[in-house]
């Protein structure tokens, strides 16, 4: 789970262009800043850069844990195998389907939940606390809870409730539904929080004025609230989409990718640590990383989602 934050305000970016000659004070401030920031940045880059670079290097080799010490350089061949593999494209489609469907549902439900959290005054704290439970629960626990609820073999209550005769988890569609359901349950609160931030910024006076003018609730929502929330919605979509695309825990617990529900993360993990094929598995990892970067790029440049949606703090 990611707990990224709706962006910090774009304040404190005072100088747009450094003056020709920096004053002593500015220089001292920058020096202090450097010493304060450097340790964190260095550690951050060190712990992330090594694995990233090593993954890229491994992806260019034929490397297997079955034959340690016999790595050979083969250039981009692994990528060729990945992109020509039927399984890769199928898993990509699975990942995309799960991402799109679950994020869409989360958006709608999250918006409703955000509205509820915003409007409800009575026991507001209680509502928010309970609504946050799915967010705070360990992903593995959530996965087991829902798997035991959906699986007929394990005595789940959902198949009985729906009057199903077969085990939903024994075929692809049923497993998809259960996985998406779990994802939506787990992440709607987080989506709701991100949307709530944007909701809080819609000025009440505007809505009151519109009500006085005779606008219906629906009109007020679509013509005032939504447009003003656009930056928050985009940020929420960005975070949730990137999160959903990396889905791993839930799939692993539900099915380990059986029933044709494997995702790219699952594919990468199984190639690396079950088939012990480090070269090929690293190539899949790099491709996954690039796709995630691409999605972020599309959101930021294409839809204008900003890490700093200009939210002011009072």
């Amino acid at each position: 789970m990611s707990a990224g934050v709706v962006g910090p305000p774009a304040a404190a970016a005072s100088s747009s262009r450094p003056p020709h000659r920096l004053s002593d004070r500015v220089r001292a401030e920058r020096k202090l800043a450097f010493y304060l920031v450097a340790p964190a940045v260095i550690v951050m880059i060190a712990v992330t850069a090594y694995p990233i670079i090593a993954t890229i290097v491994l992806s260019l080799q034929k490397a297997s844990l079955d034959e340690p010490g016999k790595n050979t350089f083969i250039g981009l061949d692994n990528y060729g195998y990945v992109f020509t593999a039927h399984l890769f494209w199928m898993d990509l489609i699975h990942t995309a389907v799960i991402t799109v469907v679950s994020v869409s549902i989360e958006l709608v439900l999250g918006m409703l939940l955000a509205l509820a959290m915003h409007r409800v005054i009575f026991a507001r704290g209680l509502l928010r606390s309970i609504a946050l439970v799915p967010y705070a629960i360990v992903a593995v626990v959530a996965a087991y809870a829902w798997q035991y609820s959906w699986s007929l073999d394990n005595g789940g209550w959902i198949p009985r409730l729906l009057g199903l005769s077969g085990d939903p988890l024994s075929h692809q569609f049923g497993t998809y539904v259960a996985i998406i359901f779990t994802e939506v349950w787990k992440n709607t609160p987080y989506m709701a929080l991100l949307l709530l931030a944007g909701l809080s910024l819609v000025p009440d006076e505007l809505l009151e004025a519109a009500k006085v003018d005779g606008a219906s609730a629906w009109q007020r929502f679509t013509k005032i609230t939504l447009p003003l929330m656009k930056p928050a919605i985009l940020v929420a979509l960005l975070f949730r989409t990137l999160d959903a695309f990396r889905i791993f825990d839930v799939i692993y617990i539900f099915s380990q990718g059986a029933n044709n529900t494997a995702t790219l993360s699952q594919l990468s993990y199984s190639t690396l640590l079950e088939r012990l094929n480090l070269g090929l598995g690293s190539a899949v990892s790099v491709v996954l990383f690039l796709i995630v970067g691409l999605i972020a790029f599309v959101f930021i440049k294409g839809f204008g989602a900003a890490a700093n949606p200009g939210i002011e703090t009072n």
Binding site: L65, E67, L267, R275
Partner: protein, 414 residues
């Protein structure tokens, strides 16, 4: 002078005592990692062998997961990381080549090898061998035979063709008629396929590692497809594994079942009314008149290359596979023994009325390809053959050959 002598004498005694004390530290713990054997027979074997070692070692039994895949996963992760706390590991028979080639287990040589292979049936012994050397000590084996409903089928079929015909006939008569086989996308499917191919006189990978997929594959594929597309097939064939398949038989809906000996005591306790009519016969042949070669399963005990006490580990294994332990494993735990002599033991014969069938299939055996890339090969086979109803016998040979060749090179995503 005398006092100096006394002090020196006292010192000498003290040093001697200290030396004795340090060598009598207590038995060394030898860690045995194995699947969770439910009857407790393995645990008893470990305790008995520890006691019999005269204080030299104590076998600590550690249980892995139920599922073979997960067992391998856990072991591989730790062996590849050089974990020194694994001494003895229970290896599924198809892991031998991979583990040996990767250098994770020690070879058995000289007296150890002689002790581990003495009296062992040819099939199990072959599974523990790779490239002419012995890499593990067989502890138990497994093979599938035909179980059938005596009340529906007076004489058991001798070939697959016959069995499917019998099932279709029963279907027409409106009687229970399913043939339970393992058709899910997992190792059980490969066991089915490999048994058919070996029984048809062919093979998948030859002794020199070359892919020898040929006409026997087509024959095997045709049988699988025929089973999957006629009335003989259980609609749940594509997700059927050993346990669920037996449940269908216990429920009375199947006439035939290809499965392991565990079903005998299983059906006896769960479905006595069905058990009354339960008969057993050899695995059906593929070529009429030629006895089948059924792919054997089971476990072998290996000694880790990173073990800190290899000699003690070898000794412990030699005790764990001793006849008295194997007999108890068989009678209490339902695990078929690997020693030929046990098949003549009265207590074993009583618990295993079909013991002659099992022994014959372990002597004239089929075996899955022994290659270090077996993990990839089995995934490639599962990919190509599942679901069985979608097999196209006309292009299966070339398709499988290509898939396995790619898998052997390690270039495919599976």
């Amino acid at each position: 002078m005398r006092r100096v002598g006394a002090v020196l004498g006292g010192l000498a005694i003290a040093v001697a005592l200290a030396a004795c004390g340090s060598s009598g530290k207590g038995p060394v713990t030898v860690n045995w990692y194995v699947f969770p054997e439910p009857s407790g027979s393995f645990a008893k074997a470990a305790a008995d062998c520890s006691a019999a070692s005269g204080g030299k070692y104590k076998i600590a039994i550690n249980f892995l997961s139920n599922a073979s895949d997960q067992q391998r996963q856990t072991l591989v992760q730790r062996l590849a990381a050089g974990d020194p706390s694994i001494d003895i590991l229970a290896m599924d028979v198809d892991w031998t080549a991979e583990f040996a080639s990767a250098g994770w287990i020690r070879p058995w040589t000289g007296a150890n090898a002689a002790a581990a292979s003495k009296g062992v049936l040819p099939g199990p012994l072959k599974t523990a061998t790779y490239n002419g050397r012995l890499w593990a000590a067989p502890i138990n084996s497994n093979t599938e035979i035909l179980w059938y409903r005596k009340d529906l089928v007076p004489t058991p079929p001798k070939t697959w063709g016959q069995m499917i015909d019998d099932a279709i006939k029963l279907a027409k008569e409106g009687k229970p008629h399913y043939i339970e086989e393992q058709g899910a996308k997992y190792e059980g499917l490969v066991v089915w396929f490999n048994s058919l191919v070996d029984s048809a006189g062919g093979g998948i990978i030859g002794p020199n590692g070359k892919v020898i997929v040929g006409p026997s594959t087509k024959v095997a594929a045709q049988i699988m497809k025929r089973l999957a597309t006629t009335a003989a097939a259980d609609p749940g064939l594509n997700t059927s594994q050993e346990g669920p398949g037996n449940n269908v038989f216990d429920a009375g809906n199947a006439a035939f079942e290809i499965n392991y000996p565990f079903v005998w005591s299983g059906t006896q306790s769960t479905a006595p009314s069905i058990f009354k009519h339960m008969g057993y016969a050899p695995f059906p042949a593929v070529v009429p008149g030629t006895s089948p070669k059924v792919s054997i399963g089971g476990y072998n005990l290996g000694v880790s290359s990173h073990s800190q006490h290899p000699q003690l580990a070898f000794d412990a294994v030699k005790c764990l596979i001793a006849p008295q332990n194997q007999i108890r494993d068989a009678v209490k735990g339902g695990l078929a023994p690997v020693l030929a002599s046990i098949y003549d033991e009265p207590s074993f014969e009583k618990a295993y009325p079909f013991h002659a069938l099992i022994k014959a299939q372990l002597q004239d055996y089929g075996i899955r390809p022994q290659t270090p890339a077996y993990q990839d090969v089995t995934l490639a086979i599962q990919d190509t053959l599942q679901p069985a109803s979608a097999i196209d016998p006309n292009n299966i040979v070339s398709k499988l050959r290509d898939e396995i060749k790619t898998a052997l090179k390690g270039d495919s995503l599976l």
